[in-house]
Subunit: 675 residues, 2 copies
């Protein structure tokens, strides 16, 4: 009989011999098996549960006898009595190896577990958070050896958990002494080790054993809205989501007007910084309240944003981002005290991670999309588009990834459209125009059925949102109401009285305002605004394709809330995106938010995107002469010269032209506006 | 003819062979010679000047020919024309070695120079500051390679100066972009490398070459007063000194009443923290204004203080320091952003270093004294006493150093004394009592001559300060007015009408109030207060001597402003300090302030005191039973049992006793107070 035994862990398959009498927890550590523990083997946290298998295991070539582990001991009995242990489970810190054994580590006992979510739209998160909880027993102070409480806590963390060279934050010093005494020198400590080589640091501590998850915030800081998710750092689950308007809107709707505000108003950048930091604090408070968790257990935040928001959040005047060469003050990932960016209402020394920027016009939000969609892991060529006021565009595959930003303007968000509005109840989000009768049917947000105009119900129709205007223009093109150049035909040319003259041009009436509600039309100006936006988007994509030396892509990924609502067919009819097999146009949902969550939950994701951002080839549209050529050529719908064979397989676009000047209604040139 | 040459640097004596054509600056770096340079060899900063010697150098065994260095070049000529080069000097970055040469590095070209000051009282500082200035030329931004300005600056610092892995502070990010542009991508950067292994960090930057010193603040944060020195980090010179009252006095005169304030008033510690941080900011502003330097060039601060002030400065509730076991939250040296402790008005990311605490009652001020006086470097045994509201006492030599704190109370500072006052104009600071006539003569602060009472001039006499009361009591003892037990004799017993009855006891009238001014006396209560204070001090010293197993010390060092004014003879007559050869009682001046300056000027000093604090054996007087015994035995003047042979050689103390009860003036027990 030998003094050691074979131990095989599943599902990892890791195996090795350990001395008999070794605890399962120690065996796991010796063999590099991912088995959780908060209390460090004191039998109180129950994180280290395993399921031993008994009998024959031909696959592993072992026989596990009934005495392979020590008998259930008093600690396990008490734990089972007080808190309940699932049948067949053992505490890894109590059960000791006596013979060859096969031990299954259930998912909840794994630190780096991958959590599979039921909702298909919600991404499974790889868990490798920077912050972990550790239970420690600290030596009491002693007048003969007057070391500080912090030093004794640091000594305990080193002796009991091997955590060395702890940095100290004043915020933790402030709460240290009462917590140590309240816990009678036994405390649970949250330690952040961001994996960059910086010293680990305590971010929070609690008296006694704290047997509850730590939390993090994933924040998508947009120019218009700020969205946040409260995430469990145990499993990556989203416990609450909330959003608020970016209060910087009062300084300028779009980024460039905010940059101008900073340039024109001394101290204007400071005002905007204060506003956005205050908003982050409010968002954090709202999320914590919604989830009903202790704000002090929120130990980390991750933030994604565009470069201008990034600089304003960090307190850097964004003036250089308003002019060539669009020099960033810094583009590298930031590891900060969360309190430095307005998140002072979390754990005492909570940390914040800001994803790296890609370039002066391509932000951390685009980096988060790149992290989430990971085109560099695929053989096929992905075009990834995140549409906002600017469109961030990524093109790439396993060999190379390119990025650019294209100034689409806000038309895709319903701004600068005569009946446009943000996506909110009452907005037309879907529309169909009968190619024969030219009559519209539509669906409005907040109402789950299609209506034609007379039937519209509650909520009251109020306007057209971004996805609605794209469908409207595309449907008008498919119904022959708009020609390839973007001109709206007259009633005579189109055969419908819904095309009415507004002087030199025409508009298409979706809803005439009766019996009540606003009159909703698509004007020639609306078509022009959409054409400018879609040309910019297409030109950006085309520029990247030139750089990649390809004429087609294999798939198009539409990211963002907008991308989730857009109809691939309609987008392609407009020529927003290059021709591709229709079912290869997919929505990635809120990919930037997903990327923020990934970076929150796993340091490996941070390292991945930091490395990937350096590898991405950045294309600056503003200085590429071909951008202008592509932009002009992309004005036609879908395009003046590029073929759209895949689109042609599903849609036959009418060959009309209204350029010869169908007369208007002879009116005096007064253009009717909404309302 | 060989391709290399022998280069000998003086005064270091470092020598070695370098390839001909090597610049003197490079040769110095190769040979590890301390030769300064800010511009990195561009011929613009002039820090690298050397004086070549020509001819025979028998001591070094070389002959230096006239062509040992390259001829003066255009850069040196221009420099000499524009800014002037001392005769015989060369710029080390321009002059290249052509043959064997002896090169003297003048003190101003040495980075780690020791600066010899004219004033004997001012300590020469070893210079090894954590922050140095570097001139760098930074690559301009480029739309094709959109790295951040900070990254390009970091790259330049690495390429041009070998500084790797720069940490970034938001405060620097805020000023980075305009300074780079103003300097046309040439900037001088102040980089702090605190030598702890933490990443180096930029603390300030200026456009172009900044050819002026960096500055630091050395702050001695006392319970009552806060003193600060503005110091040049080029040579350690003090450019301005200033002080202000600690505004926390309004929360309590002494430390324990401040601790009580924090305990009794929720948020009281936060109030006190804010008050002291505000005061530091004011002090910094005053120093910068007085010295007329740019606040933005003040890149560091060092702070010494007692443990309660330390915790309050760091924002830690000091409640644990008010009760056994007097547990510190942290005692280790702190490296912080200066803005965290109220010094937000210096260089953008200025740093602060707080010296380590020794124990719960023995602070960073005592550590600074230990650094300044360095008893561990001496063979003889030093007793070092820093007298304030508490006395910090160090005893040690090369073999061992001990420390304790003793609760002397504020009597030595003139508090709790009937006519006591702080040292300020009008206070009696020196006093003599004629042993025959028992008549006093005194000197008051602000008046440089001795007076007897009728002659006192301006400023008006107002009271007795700490050193004055010690002299008064000791002179009374020497003149036979007070007996060894501390009793004041009656007029009959002492033979002077200045001893008047106050009921059951007597008082000695120093000044009767005529022609004007207050009546100033030493009461029996004053004697008792001084006895309590001196007994505590002596008992603390004696406890350390017991621990050291010695009966006598070789020298006594009196530190602090008080120590500078105290008369060794009088202190020994009282029995404040153990018997020692009188001329071995020396004043160290403001040793705590000197220690703060040393830590400000040299990282080596920081490492030295951090290591030394760990080696010092801490004695807690509160739990040593012998402390009470020593305290009681020390009540007599000079002592009930310990012999004072050295004192006896210079002073014969009258053998009087008033214990048998010389009657008072029969008054009704009303004690007269100052009025």
């Amino acid at each position: 009989m030998t003094d050691d035994a074979l131990v095989i862990f599943t599902p990892s398959g890791k195996r090795g011999r350990v001395a008999k009498g070794t605890s399962v927890l120690h065996a796991a550590r010796q063999l590099g098996v991912d088995l959780d523990s908060v209390c460090g083997g004191r039998g109180i946290c129950s994180k280290c549960q395993v399921s031993p298998g008994y009998g024959e295991f031909p696959k592993h070539g072992v026989h596990v006898g009934p005495d392979a582990l020590t008998q259930i001991n008093a600690v396990e009995e008490r734990y089972d009595r007080v808190r309940g242990l699932k049948p067949g489970r053992r505490l890894g810190c109590q059960a000791c190896v006596q013979g060859d054994v096969v031990l299954d580590v259930p998912p909840e006992s794994q630190v780096h577990r991958q959590v599979i979510r039921k909702s298909a739209s919600e991404r499974a998160m790889d868990m490798d958070p920077a912050t972990h909880a550790y239970y420690v027993e600290v030596a009491e102070p002693n007048m003969h050896e007057p070391s500080g409480d912090f030093q004794r806590l640091a000594d305990a963390l080193e002796a009991q958990w091997g955590i060395k060279g702890l940095a100290s934050d004043l915020q933790v010093m402030r709460v240290l002494q009462p917590v140590l005494r309240k816990g009678d020198w036994k405390v649970t400590v949250a330690v952040n080790d961001d994996g960059t080589g910086a010293l680990p640091r305590i971010v929070a501590l609690w008296p006694g054993l704290r047997d509850a998850p730590l939390y993090g915030l994933a924040i998508d800081l947009g120019s218009t809205t700020i969205a946040g998710h409260l995430v469990s750092l145990a499993d990556g689950r989203v416990l609450a989501s909330s959003g608020l308007m970016n209060p910087q809107i009062r300084f300028g709707e779009d980024l460039m007007s905010r940059v101008s505000y900073a340039m024109m108003n001394p101290g204007g950048d400071v005002e905007m910084t204060r506003a956005v930091r205050d908003a982050l604090g409010q968002l954090a408070a709202a999320l914590v309240a919604e989830a009903g968790v202790d704000a002090g257990a929120v130990v980390e935040a991750s933030v994604v944003c565009n470069p201008v928001m990034h600089h304003l959040l960090l307190g850097i005047d964004p003036v250089e981002l308003g002019q060539a060469p669009f020099a960033l003050a810094t583009g590298e990932a930031q590891n900060l005290a969360a309190s430095e960016i307005g998140l002072g209402n979390l754990a005492p020394a909570a940390r914040a991670y800001i994803l790296p920027l890609i370039a002066g016009h391509v932000g951390a939000d685009a980096a988060a999309v790149a992290l989430s969609e990971a085109p560099e892991t695929r053989d096929d060529l992905s075009l990834i588009v995140d549409v906002g006021t600017n469109a961030e565009i990524l093109l790439g595959n396993r060999t190379r990834v390119l990025a650019c930003s294209s100034p689409t303007g806000p038309a895709f968000e319903g701004a600068q459209i005569s009946s446009g509005q943000r996506a909110a109840p009452g907005a037309i989000e879907r529309i169909e125009i009968d190619p024969v009768t030219k009559e519209p049917r539509f669906r409005i947000i907040g109402n789950d059925h299609w209506s034609d105009a007379p039937e519209f119900g509650t909520p009251t129709i109020t306007g057209i949102c971004g996805s609605g205007i794209i469908e409207a223009v595309a449907e008008m093109r498919m119904a022959g109401i708009v020609d390839p150049s973007g001109l709206i035909g007259s009633a005579e040319q189109t055969g419908t009285a819904r095309c009415v003259s507004t002087g030199r041009t025409h508009e298409y009436v979706i809803h005439d305002g009766s019996p009540d509600g606003p009159r909703i039309t698509v004007t020639q100006g609306d078509i022009r605004a959409i054409q400018l936006a879609k040309s910019a988007l297409y030109a950006g994509a085309r520029l990247l394709m030139d750089e990649m030396e390809v004429d087609k892509v294999d798939r198009v990924v539409l990211a963002g809330a907008f991308g989730a609502h857009i109809s691939p067919k309609h987008a392609m009819v407009l020529g927003m995106i290059p021709d591709v097999v229709l079912d290869r146009v997919i929505s990635a949902g809120n990919a930037a938010g997903t990327g923020a969550r990934m970076a929150l939950c796993a340091r490996s994701a941070r390292r991945a995107i930091e490395a990937q951002v350096k590898r991405i080839d950045k294309i600056e549209t503003a200085i590429e002469p071909r951008f202008q050529e592509h932009f002009v050529a992309a004005n036609a719908m879908p395009h003046a010269s590029d073929p759209f064979p895949e689109l042609a397989k599903v849609v036959a676009l009418p060959d009309v032209s209204f350029n010869s000047g169908g007369s208007g209604d002879g009116g005096g040139g007064r253009r009717r506006r909404r309302g």
